[in-house]
């Protein structure tokens, strides 16, 4: 009974809680955070359960209102969407547990709207992942984006301008996507993804279909912060409040990457995508430029949140590079990187939030040895997440890069392989810089003698934030080990989702 209704349950949980939170929040503001945790907890539970149901019974198609597709609209719960749902709902659940104290500190009195908007944003993301209809995908995309603009505008003084810039460029992207869907509709007369993908091979050379593909890839590429259109991302992630950056950074661009997967590999199929021009290779080149650019810009930053934002530009490049390789290894590597990056980025933004909670900012020039005593657990998690970002075994980050590298070797694509290696070295530069400040004697500090430093370290006392902030950080860091050890299991499941 529950198995057949799984897709609807996951999405409707968020609808119910986006209404419940204002109802209870007006009565008691403190109730809104526990309710948000409950809502995302239910959705996370059903996503985990649903993933195992999927492995047993295969794809679930859920038509609405008793109208059989392609006339009616439907939710499709297949491997790709099951995996993405699992990742985003579990990470959001952990991020919402974390956000209790930071939310109270950064936007007092606005908690109820914040958590209600969070639920609406998750509804949008879950809808994008579940829907089997191209126009519904646009509607869910706009629901998610509108809530995201509002969430980003809650924050420091320039946050509203950052959100406005994102709104202009993001809505333009969504509109281009809608125009592309319009072209496809005029050619095929359907909007159902499964139905349309069966019809499209007949129209491979039609110029409308080629234009539609280009418009959709460009429109979604803007939302995914693919290289030339990444301009909105660093400011948005830097100026927004820590809870919203922890919520949005791990999952926001991933869902847009999911739409690229859906359009390029499932709807069109890789042969059709590359029929007229080598589009997947072009997208891969842009992803490569984004990887190198993001890493280089991250080295130049002194604020930790801004550095992490540029690193996001770089990491989304890996995912899209894996997509552009279009072979099972690249595909599995990209999906594994979706999971890894969501966990790593959430963990790193949480550490930045922990330090902001106690120090008032997360400026990296102030990191020194005393942090090792003040924040032992946060700093240990930072080292785990940083080493995983760089890609050293046995941590999770190594394996996704390993499978991506295998994918480039299989395609004989040495340029992409070189970019993966260079970018890993650049990652090492900007993460080991922090670790050096914390765990080694600071060679840049010349005013202080070594004795004074020793004294400062001795004077520092344990100053970690409350357990509800610390435990999510540590759990995410530990799960990086778990994912690293379980990588064979995960990848063998992921390879099975490759279309063809």
């Amino acid at each position: 009974m529950i198995e057949t209704h799984l897709p609807a349950i996951i999405a409707l949980t968020f609808v119910a809680f986006s209404i419940l939170i204002p109802v209870f929040g007006i009565w008691k503001e403190e109730l809104s955070q526990p309710l948000a945790v409950l809502g995302s907890g239910i959705a996370a539970f059903f996503s985990v359960y649903g993933f195992f149901v999927f492995l047993d019974v295969g794809m679930i198609r859920y038509p609405f209102g008793g109208w059989a597709p392609p006339i009616g609209i439907e939710f499709v719960y297949d491997g790709l969407s099951a995996f993405f749902l699992l990742v985003i709902n579990v990470v959001t659940f952990i991020a919402l547990i974390y956000s209790k104290y930071r939310g109270r500190a950064e936007f007092p009195g606005k908690e109820m709207p914040f958590y209600s908007l969070t639920m609406l944003m998750m509804l949008g993301f879950n809808g994008i992942l579940l829907t089997g209809d191209l126009f519904n995908l646009f509607v869910f995309l706009e629901i998610a984006s509108l809530s995201m603009y509002s969430l980003i505008s809650i924050g420091k003084k320039p946050a509203s301008y950052a959100a406005f810039r994102y709104l202009i460029i993001g809505t333009a992207g969504g509109t281009l996507y809608l125009l592309g869907v319009g072209y496809l509709y005029t050619i095929t007369g359907t909007l159902n993804i499964i139905d349309m993908s069966a019809m499209l091979p007949t129209f491979a050379e039609n110029s409308s279909v080629v234009a539609a593909l280009l418009l959709m890839v460009v429109g979604i590429g803007i939302k995914a912060a693919l290289f030339p259109t990444h301009g909105w991302l660093p400011d948005s992630y830097t100026f927004t409040s820590s809870p919203s950056s922890i919520l949005i950074a791990p999952i926001g661009t991933k869902v847009a990457a999911y739409v690229l997967f859906r359009v390029m590999l499932y709807l069109f199929g890789i042969e059709l995508t590359d029929a007229v021009m080598p589009l997947s290779y072009l997208v891969g080149i842009l992803a490569c430029i984004g990887i190198v650019y993001g890493s280089v810009m991250a080295i130049a930053q002194s604020n930790m949140k801004r550095m992490l934002a540029y690193s996001s530009v770089s990491q989304i490049g890996y995912i899209i590079m894996g997509l552009s390789l279009a072979n099972p290894f690249g595909f599995a590597g990209a999906l594994l990187h979706v999971l890894n990056h969501a966990v790593m980025k959430a963990c790193l933004f949480m550490i930045s939030g922990n330090i902001t909670h106690r120090e008032g900012n997360s400026d990296m020039s102030r990191f020194d040895e005393s942090y090792r005593k003040k924040y032992p657990w946060s700093m240990a998690s930072l080292s785990v997440a940083a080493i995983s970002m760089v890609g050293l075994p046995p941590l999770a980050g190594f394996f996704s890069k390993w499978y991506l590298a295998l994918g480039t070797v299989e395609n004989g694509n040495w340029l992409f392989l070189g970019v993966i290696i260079v970018s890993s070295l650049l990652n090492a530069v900007y993460f080991f810089r922090i670790l050096e400040r914390v765990y080694m004697n600071d060679p840049y500090e010349e005013e202080q003698t070594e004795e004074e430093q020793q004294k400062a370290v001795a004077a520092a006392t344990y100053n970690e934030p409350p357990a509800s902030m610390l435990s999510p950080t540590v759990i995410l860091a530990l799960s990086l080990f778990a994912i690293g050890f379980a990588n064979v299991l995960i990848v063998s499941a992921l390879m099975g989702f490759f279309p063809l």
């Binding site: 509203s160 202009i168 809505t171 333009a172």
Partner: protein, 122 residues
């Protein structure tokens, strides 16, 4: 060649609107004008969808006793219109959020000119 222009004149209008919208987004310095450009861009896509539903010698999509249901070619295609109702609502919601953000920006910085804003944020 002339047929290419006159035969598709509805599409040429939407293309012109689309270009006006993109121009407004990219080159206007005032944030209100950027928002207007965004609205024009959205409307151009809505107009495209509305125009693809149109047919000669066809009637509105309510059941006419003189035209049996199996002659669907004599009715307009209602789907693009209904879809565009949703898209228009999405556009209105976007404009609402955009104007709310503009009010917040104006209250914080006292200007809506992009150049001045960037100087004040630095």
């Amino acid at each position: 060649m002339l047929e290419f222009f006159t035969g598709h004149y509805a599409y040429w209008f939407t293309v012109i609107l689309l270009c006006v919208g993109v121009y407004g987004i990219m080159f206007k310095k005032n944030l209100i004008k950027k928002t207007i450009g965004l609205a024009i861009l959205q409307i151009s896509v809505v107009m495209y969808w509305v125009s693809i539903a149109n047919k000669w010698d066809a009637t509105v999509t309510t059941l006419d006793p003189n035209i049996p249901v199996d002659q669907v070619a004599n009715y307009l295609n209602p789907l693009p219109h209904t879809l565009m109702l949703t898209a228009i609502v999405v556009g209105v919601a976007t404009l609402g959020v955009a104007f709310t953000l503009l009010i917040a920006i104006y209250n914080r910085y006292g200007t809506l000119d992009e150049q001045e804003l960037l100087e004040k944020i630095q």
